[in-house]
Symmetry: C2
Subunit: 292 residues, 2 copies
């Protein structure tokens, strides 16, 4: 069976229009008709109902079922392509969210260079959702991801290598600056400067606000720790961050004393189906040795 037919079929389900699918793939319209017929013959079941009365195309249960598998098959193929390309170019495509890259990558870079691995590493920056997607379709071989729960995804192996608590950072002249430790509930009336919502930090932060029953005043959001730190230094607000961050001069770090203290968990993640090359195993070993 030709996988092209599955691609046609999937797109037909998207577009629900034979002619448009033909255009989409740059082929003639009968090509799509015959491809769908081939599939229907192969699986011995009607896949779509061409209801020209209501000008609609509906997918039969068989069709929906096949679509599931088609998606999976096409993704698998795509993954294979990416993955093998990385292999051939002797490259490790490593996904890194900016915060993790800033803190962890410099730590291992010297070692990587020494073991002549650095030149084979191609870093790909991105948010955690993006990176997870890129991992699944093979664009990356591995990724470092942050989370507040141990990662557990179908088709991905997550290998935890570090944990960091979150802290409260306040400006040097802030009323709380003398405190060493603090309960989260004491921050009820503070102004916050936080990361953008897509960051893992917010999941942890939201968990604490929910637990302590208050709606925080978030006066500003950024995706740059330096920016956040500068605003904290100027008493624009306080922030909630881990210590894997460059601390500014005019900022004070407070420990949280709450019973539930979310942690920032960093894991190295790769596909369950991915066979680690010697270089990749070396990279894993270095990370475990230096970062754990």
């Amino acid at each position: 069976m030709n996988t092209k037919d599955l691609a046609y079929f999937k797109e037909l389900i998207n577009q629900k229009n034979f002619s448009k699918v033909a255009d989409f793939f740059g082929v003639s319209q009968p090509t799509i008709t015959t491809a769908i017929k081939r599939l229907e013959a192969e699986f011995g079941s009607q896949l779509v109902i061409r209801d020209r009365v209501h000008h609609e195309l509906t997918i039969t249960p068989s069709g929906q079922q096949l679509a599931e598998h088609a998606t999976s098959i096409l993704r698998e193929l795509d993954t294979a392509h990416h993955e093998i390309q990385n292999l051939v170019q002797n490259q490790i495509a490593l996904g890194l969210p900016p915060i993790i890259e800033n803190y962890y990558f410099p730590k291992i870079a010297a070692q990587l260079k020494q073991q002549r691995l650095l030149r084979h590493i191609l870093t790909v920056e991105g948010g955690s959702v993006e990176l997870r997607k890129g991992l699944l379709d093979g664009q990356m071989d591995m990724a470092l991801l942050g989370s507040i729960e141990p990662l557990s995804y179908q088709n991905l192996i997550a290998d935890e290598f570090d944990r960091h608590p979150f802290y409260i950072y306040v400006g040097k002249t802030h009323p709380l600056a003398d405190r060493k430790r603090i309960f989260f509930s004491e921050l009820r009336h503070e102004d916050f400067v936080l990361f953008e919502n897509s960051f893992v930090h917010n999941q942890a932060f939201n968990r604490l606000t929910r637990r302590n029953h208050f709606r925080p005043d978030v006066v500003f959001r950024s995706n740059d720790t330096h920016m956040i730190m500068k605003l904290v230094a100027q008493n624009v607000g306080i922030t909630y961050l881990t210590d894997i961050v460059d601390q500014q001069a005019d900022v004070v770090r407070l420990e949280l004393m709450d019973e539930e203290r979310p942690e920032f968990i960093t894991s190295i993640v790769y596909r369950t189906t991915h066979i680690l090359t010697p270089a990749q195993q070396q990279l894993l070993a270095i990370m475990h040795r230096i970062l754990a």
Copy 2:
């Protein structure tokens, strides 16, 4: 890309011999040669090394990686075939291990008949390992499985619907027959009649013997509860079973008082990719209503 090529490739990895693979598929030998070449061109990488000096065929890393995906793709296709066939025939292929079938199926059969579902259910008997495999490649749409931990498999959804504790069963004239409750550690010197090793029961049993640091005397194993019960009635030994079993007249049931008491968990399991038909949803609903 033609999936046939992937099948040829997978078999080549198995057999490591082009000509034999050709025989296997009933095609000529150059067919395999060209198929592999096609794949190598498509993925831009050598997949196998034809080492005629050492009379060997080795798989390159790219080849191994592709083999992973090929396996997955071919299984997915196979699943689609089975699954759609069941759909077309309007049949629910339901996997049932014998013990579960005996206890649970009669309970729902009347309801199934009333809702005209019974005629659409095709039961497939088998051990839990077998059933899991059959589920994954689409031979069955659903299965009831027993386990002592909540089931958690990649690609399968497990929907727990019942739990039963395990009990100790002893003959009516056995010294322990007067006891209502007992600690497992008290059974250190008893003779046991148990299920064959493949049964879930043994995982629970082994856990308890390990926890209590003794090697049990297993005098006989069977895969038939009635047989086990009869032997218990005759004081050949005692047994460790749930209460989802036909109790014999001359057998007494004792509760276990241990802190850790494994439970027999029954779940209905189906593929994550499986789209439930109305009939299948109906079946699920009946099971939850009657069995939960």
